[in-house]
Every structure is written in structure tokens, then in C-alpha cells.
């Protein structure tokens, strides 16, 4: 009989056994009676000669129990019984393991989302992120011109799409390619709201392999400059502002006071492949003709879908070839003197001429791009929580060993009764695995809860983009991981105690009070080793944590150049439709500022077009020949200056120290002399030996010249640190 038959016919076998043994007894009794014995006596004698009925049955069952499933079930029952008998031990062990396994499972579920699980797009392994990266500017985007060329000429991509999450509308008089994220004022649907949008090419949907759940995607005709005002709604937007109205198609959505027609609704499962989710999608409307001639230079983000079987390297070579072909003759790149109208490879668009910063083509899997530096960070964390689990293992193993001393007698008795060593080891291992699985289940609950916490703790700029696309959650992979970790953990911390206990001297173990006897040399050696391992692991963790804290402390020690304490920020924008003239806008803002300043509890208030540390700041680019002093600059350097436009109260409100000269006053208005405040670093850079106050400052930018330099402010760190809005 096969073990599985035996397993399923267990009940039948039991009945057969019963009938067989009873037949024997009854036959014996009948024979004795036939031989002249009294029935009472016959029964007694037969019983006596037969031996313990239950014991015989048990032994017969044990024959079948050489089959693994039967014994496992038996042992499992025994293990659960033993654990229930020691609730304190069980509780401590389960909690310890729950922490260890829970931490591992939680981190793993993020690793699973970031590294292992495919993105929620069809054949997402073929999706690539294409960018021209300029390491010097830490910029990763591509020019619209290259996008158009790639789209027309490539041989390696099935499809290619461009998108943009930077709002261009307010850039008309901006400097540099600053701006902000594509936020729109939504009006006409209850309270006006700010909604987050993205501009996408018509090919965006097919490239990702997603389709609107209602209506349709953009057509190529709609994806043209001055094309129709159409919008595809995100699922949550549709729910929130249209109450999931199935007749939403054709209705009007007012964005920045302009009417757009809703033509589609994305499914709930759709995630925008960027740092944050886009609530609405608008046509990118790239001016392809002028981009092709490199007259317009819009910066876009590009996603491509590789043809089946095409490698990243092949795609890279193909696209790079096209890019090189479009580049002007290679000699002119080094020519100085700023060929303003030339085909520039430079990234920041309307800057002055000069040699462009070198850009290199990057083609990486989309998943990798979205994960950013989250991938190594999560793997490191996984290592750290792995150590925590090992420590938990060592702790529980120690507990088990302590308990094992008390169980020596029990084990010895079972061995004497005929249990083989392997059986005993397996029994003890099963006990520890049961313990670990219980801990694992508790840990899973812990993980399911903490995944949300972890996800919220990771800022979008640190590769958190992928978390918006591939939300970490407890799925099949995670369950499997938790189970595997639990079982392995159980074996890991159970093996040593099991082997030592069963190795101990049986005779010694049988003596009354053996548990009081000193533990064997081997066992004390093992406990010593465990303690050493534990201390070692804890030390490693401690060192790691110490380094982290030190880095964190250093980050805190960095003087950002302003005092962020008790400063609140708010974000608003005015639409050109409602406030067409500059004058109207500045009146509105002045009024807002006055009212905020008069609020009780507000000490001071200021306006700025961006915040410190915000990567979306405007900037000025200057080549050396545009600077008055070249002394400090080598001829190939381009100076990039981040630029903020601020109201007079800015310096006081943010606590920025003024080292020299004056800050702005209300008299520095439209009509006044153009003035600027520079920071210490720039002043030292441009005028190393001179007094910067009053120096001319000619960026040659749209005819506006900042002529005077009234002051120097303290150093302001304008790093590309992510700023959370």
C-alpha cells in the first residue's frame, strides 16, 4: 500500500486492525471455553496472554508510521501539545520570531515590488527608459528633437512615447527651464482644486499597453500644437469629481479656466510611470516640425517598447546612431563664441550659447529607472533585517536549549521505549518549525501592517516613483517568502538543540532529577557559541546603525542657509485666463501677502516663485564670454545659477543672514533699477578679489539686465534634494 493510500484509507485500516485483533481474542476465548474454562476465566486469560491491546494497536500503527506523512501528523500533534504545555516559553519564542520574520517579510514585500515583480504594464520587461543624461547637471531627459528623430528612424523599438510632467504655461517670461509640476486649477466642479496632470504623446497608451476603460485615447491629430482641448481622466479623478458618471464622455472639464473635453477614463489599475500619479492626461502636442529642425527645444521624458528579442545594447546603438546623425558636424561643438542659433545638445533650453555640457544616451529597463537608488537601499535593508532574524534565531535557540535540559528525561524515556534517534531529532525539529511557523504567521500580520508605513516613509525623490507604480503588498511571492523563511528559521534554531539533546547519555538522562545535573560540556559549549554569534551579529547591526545615525547627524548638521523652524509654505497659481495682465497678478499676490501678514500669529510672510532646495527652480546659464571676469573660470565652464524671484520679506522670513549690502525693498519694483542678491559662493566665484556690491551682472537674458548687486546673502544650499509639496 502506498503511503498516500494509507493516508487516505487511514480510517479503514484502523477498522481492519480492530477486527483482526478482536478476532484473535474471541477465537482464543472460544477455544478456552471449549477446553472447559469458565467464560470469565477464559476472557481474563486470553487478555493476559495477548498483552495490552492498545499498545499492540499503537505498534501496528507505527509500522505504517514508517511512512513519513503519518509520523509527521503524529509528531505535529505532539509538538502542538508540547508547545501548549509551556505557554510562557511559546509566547516569548513566537513573539521574538514574529518580530524577526515580520521585519524580513515587510522589507521583502517592498523588494518584491521594487526588484522582483513586473511593472503593471503588459510585457513590461520590454519597456525601457530612454534619456540623454548630463551628469554635470544631474539631468535626465531628452530633447523633443531627438524624440521625433528616434520615432521616425529607429529599427529596434516597437513603439516610443514621450511625456512631460512640467507645466509650460507659465514659462513665457520665465528664465531657464524651471516651472513647476503640471498642476492645474480645476474649476466648475464644486470647490476649486489643484489637480496633478501629465502631458503625454498619442503613442503613450499603446507603448505601455494600457487602454482607457471608457472612451478612447488621444489620436495623432489631437496630439498637435493648438489641437483640440481634450483630456483623459484618471480613475480616481473620475470617481472624485464625476461620481463615476458613465456618461462623462464629452463633458467639459475646466482646467486653468479653459474648457477641455473628456474623451476617456483610465482603468483603476492604471498607474502613471512617474514619480507621482497623474490625475489627468493631456496631449503632449509637441511641435514636431520645429523640433525636427531643433528650433523648438522642449524637454520630454521618453519610454520605449523594445521589439521582441532586441537587447538593450542593440537599442542603445540604434538610438545613439540616430542621435549622432542629427548632431551638427563634430567640429562645431568645441567652437567657442556661442553659436546661439546652432543645434545645441545642451539640455536647459533657452540659455545662451557656448559649448554644451556633454550628454550621454541612457537606455535602461523602465523598472530599473523607476526604482532608482531604492533598489540597493532595499537590498541593504534586507541584509540588515536578515541579521535581526539571525539574532532572533540565536535567542530562541538558547531558550530551546534551556528547555532542552529540562526535557532530557522525556527524550531519554522515549529513546528507551524504542524511538530512533532520527525520529527524535525530527520530532524536536518539527516542534521548532511549528514554533517558527506560528511566529511567521504573527510576523505576516506585522508585515502587512508595516508595509504601508514603510511605503509612506520613502520619499518620492528617492526612487519612490516605483512605489506609486508597483505598490508593495502581501502577495503570493511574499507569502511564499514568509513560509520559506519560517521553515528555514525553525530548522536553523531547532537543529542544534535537537541534536544535542538526543545525543546525551540516556542512562544519565533517566536518573531522577537529571535536569538539575550540570548540562553536558557539549551543550554549554553550544550555548557559548550561540552567545558569541549573537553578540557578533548585534555588533554588526550596531555598527551599521551607528554609521547611519552619524550620516543622518551630518545631514542635520548641514546648515541649509535658512531657518526652517516654524515656517509654513503654501502653493498657489493664477491662471492667465482670469488674470491676463502681470499687473493683475501682482496685485492679487500683494493682497494675499498683506492679508497673511495681518493674520494673528504670523510674524512675517513672503512670496517666492519657488522654495529653497526645490529642484524645480529656475536657473540662469552663462558661458565665460558673457561674464565680466574670467579670472576664476576656465574657458569651458558654464556657470549655472539657480534663481529665485522673491518678495522683500523673503530673507527675514526664512532667516537668511545678509552678509553685506541690503536686501530688496518695496521700491525695487517693475520700474526700478533691476537688482539681485547673490550668495556667497557665486560672489566668490565671479569676483574673487573684488567687492561684489554694485557690480554689473549681464546674463544677456531676454534683454533684461540685472545691473546692480546690492548685497550678498549667506550661502544657500540649492541641492537637488526632493521637496515634498
Amino acid at each position: 500500500m502506498r503511503w498516500y493510500q494509507r493516508f487516505f484509507r487511514r480510517g479503514l485500516t484502523e477498522k481492519h486492525l480492530d477486527v483482526e485483533l478482536r478476532f484473535h481474542l474471541e477465537q482464543q476465548i472460544a477455544d478456552y471455553i471449549a477446553a472447559g474454562m469458565k467464560p470469565e476465566e477464559a476472557r481474563r486469560r486470553a487478555r493476559l496472554e495477548f498483552g495490552g491491546l492498545d499498545q499492540v494497536k499503537e505498534e501496528c500503527r507505527d509500522v505504517g508510521a514508517t511512512h513519513i506523512v503519518d509520523t509527521l501528523i503524529q509528531d505535529l500533534r505532539y509538538a502542538v501539545r508540547m508547545l501548549r504545555k509551556n505557554p510562557a516559553f511559546t509566547l516569548v519564542a513566537v513573539l521574538t520570531l514574529a518580530l524577526g520574520i515580520g521585519a524580513n517579510t515587510a522589507i521583502f514585500s517592498v523588494v518584491n515590488a521594487v526588484v522582483l515583480r513586473p511593472l503593471p504594464y503588459s510585457h513590461s520587461d520590454r519597456l525601457v527608459w530612454i534619456a540623454e543624461s548630463i551628469p554635470a547637471l544631474k539631468s535626465e531627459a531628452a530633447t523633443g528633437g531627438d524624440y521625433v528623430d528616434w520615432k521616425d528612424q529607429n529599427h529596434t523599438l516597437d513603439r516610443i512615447a514621450a511625456y512631460d510632467t512640467v507645466y509650460r504655461g507659465s514659462l513665457s517670461e520665465g528664465s531657464g527651464s524651471g516651472g513647476g509640476s503640471a498642476d492645474f486649477n480645476l474649476t466648475g466642479r464644486g470647490t476649486p482644486a489643484r489637480v496633478h496632470g501629465a502631458f503625454v504623446s498619442a503613442s503613450f497608451f499603446a507603448t505601455l499597453g494600457v487602454e482607457p476603460q471608457l472612451g478612447r485615447a488621444f489620436t495623432e491629430n489631437e496630439d498637435q500644437p493648438n489641437g483640440p482641448h481634450v483630456v483623459v481622466l484618471g480613475h480616481s479623478f473620475w470617481q472624485q469629481y464625476f461620481g463615476s458618471d458613465p456618461h462623462v464622455l464629452g463633458q467639459t472639464v475646466n482646467l486653468d479656466a479653459a474648457p477641455y473635453t473628456a474623451i476617456g477614463v483610465m482603468p483603476a489599475s492604471f498607474r502613471f510611470p512617474g514619480d507621482s500619479d497623474a490625475q489627468i492626461l493631456l496631449p503632449l502636442a509637441l511641435n514636431q516640425a520645429s523640433e525636427r529642425l531643433r528650433i523648438a527645444q522642449r524637454h520630454v521624458r521618453i519610454i520605449g517598447r523594445l521589439k521582441p528579442g532586441v537587447s538593450l545594447a542593440a537599442a542603445w546603438a540604434d538610438l545613439d546612431e540616430i542621435r549622432k546623425r542629427a548632431q551638427p558636424s563634430s567640429g562645431s561643438t568645441s567652437a567657442e563664441g556661442g553659436g546661439g542659433g546652432g543645434r545645441r545638445r545642451a539640455m536647459p533650453a533657452p540659455g545662451p550659447g557656448g559649448p554644451p555640457p556633454a550628454s550621454e544616451l541612457k537606455v535602461v529597463p523602465l523598472a530599473e529607472h523607476l526604482a532608482g537608488n531604492l533598489r540597493p537601499a532595499m537590498l541593504t535593508l534586507l541584509g540588515a533585517v536578515g541579521l535581526v532574524l539571525l539574532i532572533a534565531c540565536a535567542n530562541v535557540a538558547n531558550l530551546m536549549l534551556t528547555r532542552a535540559s529540562a526535557r532530557t528525561r522525556e527524550v531519554a524515556v522515549r529513546a528507551v521505549l524504542g524511538a530512533g534517534r532520527w525520529r527524535l531529532v525530527r520530532q524536536l525539529l518539527l516542534e521548532s518549525v511549528t514554533l517558527a511557523v506560528a511566529g511567521g504567521m504573527a510576523g505576516l500580520l506585522l508585515a502587512a501592517w508595516s508595509v504601508h508605513v514603510i511605503t509612506r516613509l520613502i520619499p518620492a525623490g528617492a526612487g519612490g516613483g516605483i512605489l506609486a507604480v508597483a505598490e508593495p503588498r502581501v502577495d503570493g511571492n511574499v507569502l511564499l517568502f514568509a513560509l520559506a523563511v519560517s521553515v528555514l528559521t525553525g530548522i536553523l534554531f531547532g537543529l542544534a538543540p535537537a541534536v544535542t539533546v538526543t545525543r546525551s547519555d540516556l542512562a544519565e538522562g533517566l536518573k531522577e532529577g537529571a535536569q538539575a545535573a550540570s548540562p553536558g560540556i557539549r551543550r554549554s559549549w553550544l550555548r557559548g557559541a550561540l552567545a558569541v554569534a549573537e553578540i557578533f551579529l548585534a555588533l554588526m547591526l550596531l555598527i551599521g546603525a551607528g554609521l547611519l545615525i552619524k550620516s543622518f547627524y551630518r545631514v542635520l548638521q548641514v546648515n541649509p542657509g535658512f531657518a526652517p523652524e516654524r515656517v509654513l509654505t503654501m502653493d498657489l497659481s493664477l491662471t492667465d485666463a482670469r488674470y491676463p495682465a502681470r499687473q493683475q497678478k501682482s496685485e492679487f499676490f500683494s493682497q494675499v501677502l498683506r492679508r497673511v501678514e495681518s493674520l494673528p500669529g504670523v510674524r512675517s510672510a513672503a512670496l517666492a516663485d519657488s522654495l529653497p532646495l526645490n529642484p524645480y527652480q529656475g536657473f540662469l546659464l552663462m558661458s565665460p564670454n558673457q561674464l565680466l571676469s574670467r579670472a576664476a573660470l576656465s574657458s569651458s565652464t558654464i556657470v549655472m545659477m539657480r534663481m529665485l524671484k522673491v518678495s522683500p520679506g523673503y530673507f527675514y522670513t526664512l532667516g537668511i543672514p545678509v552678509l553685506k549690502g541690503r536686501t530688496f525693498t518695496d521700491h525695487d519694483d517693475e520700474q526700478a533699477l533691476k537688482v539681485a542678491v547673490v550668495n556667497e559662493v557665486l560672489a566668490r566665484h565671479l569676483w574673487p578679489a573684488e567687492d561684489p556690491i554694485g557690480k554689473q551682472f549681464p546674463p544677456g537674458h531676454r534683454g533684461r539686465v540685472l545691473r546692480a548687486l546690492p548685497s550678498i546673502a549667506g550661502r544657500l544650499h540649492a541641492t537637488r534634494r526632493p521637496h515634498r509639496r
Binding site: 483482526e20 485483533l21 478476532f23 477465537q27 498483552g51 501496528c60 507505527d62 509500522v63
Partner: protein, 111 residues
């Protein structure tokens, strides 16, 4: 209790059972009776211990079992030797002969 000795006794009981069953299909009670009668009550075996042995031999494929009616019309489990069991019996008998011959030789010459 020494492992070897119990192993030895168990092996002996197995051999006796195989030998008795080799005579034809037979149920447990009859096997016990026959071993006791033939050995003239030399083996005072605890009758219950016969059954784990029977089940073990069945499990190893040396015996096969079948439910049939006895002469008195009751259902009983009848054991019969399989070809594998017959080979095992031959091997064990051969071993046993060697062992007893050796022991006998020692007893005679050392006496």
C-alpha cells in the same frame, strides 16, 4: 535494553512467522497457535506482539493479506507468502543454519 538483542529476537520471530505462513494462507490466531504448539510452548510469546510483526512483514512486501471467511464463517485476515517473502525465508533459514552450526561447533569443541 540492548538494541542488538531486540533486533536479533525480532529477526527470529519474523523467520518463524514466514516459515509458518509458507505452509499456506493462515490467519494471525492460527499462526500464534501453531508457533506455540510446534515449539512445544518454548516460545512464550506475548501473543499481541505477533501483530506488529505481521504488519511489518506485510509492509515490506514479504506477506500479502486477504480477508476471507474461516471454517466457522467469520471474516479473518489471512496472510500468505509472496515470492519476495519466500526468498527472504530461504535467506534467513540459510543464515540461521550457519549460525546454529557455528554455535553448535563451538559448544562441542570447547566443551
Amino acid at each position: 535494553m540492548s538494541e542488538e538483542r531486540s533486533e536479533f529476537l525480532r529477526g527470529t520471530l519474523d523467520m518463524l512467522i514466514l516459515k509458518v505462513v509458507a505452509l499456506g494462507p493462515i490467519h494471525g490466531y492460527a499462526i500464534a497457535q501453531r508457533i506455540q504448539r510446534i515449539s512445544r510452548d518454548f516460545f512464550q510469546l506475548q501473543q499481541g506482539s505477533l501483530y506488529p510483526a505481521l504488519h511489518r512483514l506485510e509492509d515490506r512486501g514479504w506477506l500479502k493479506a486477504e480477508w476471507r471467511a474461516t471454517e466457522t464463517g467469520r471474516d479473518a485476515k489471512f496472510y500468505a507468502l509472496t515470492p519476495k517473502g519466500r526468498k527472504q525465508l530461504e535467506a534467513e533459514v540459510k543464515n540461521w543454519d550457519k549460525l546454529t552450526n557455528a554455535v553448535a561447533l563451538i559448544l562441542r569443541t570447547a566443551g
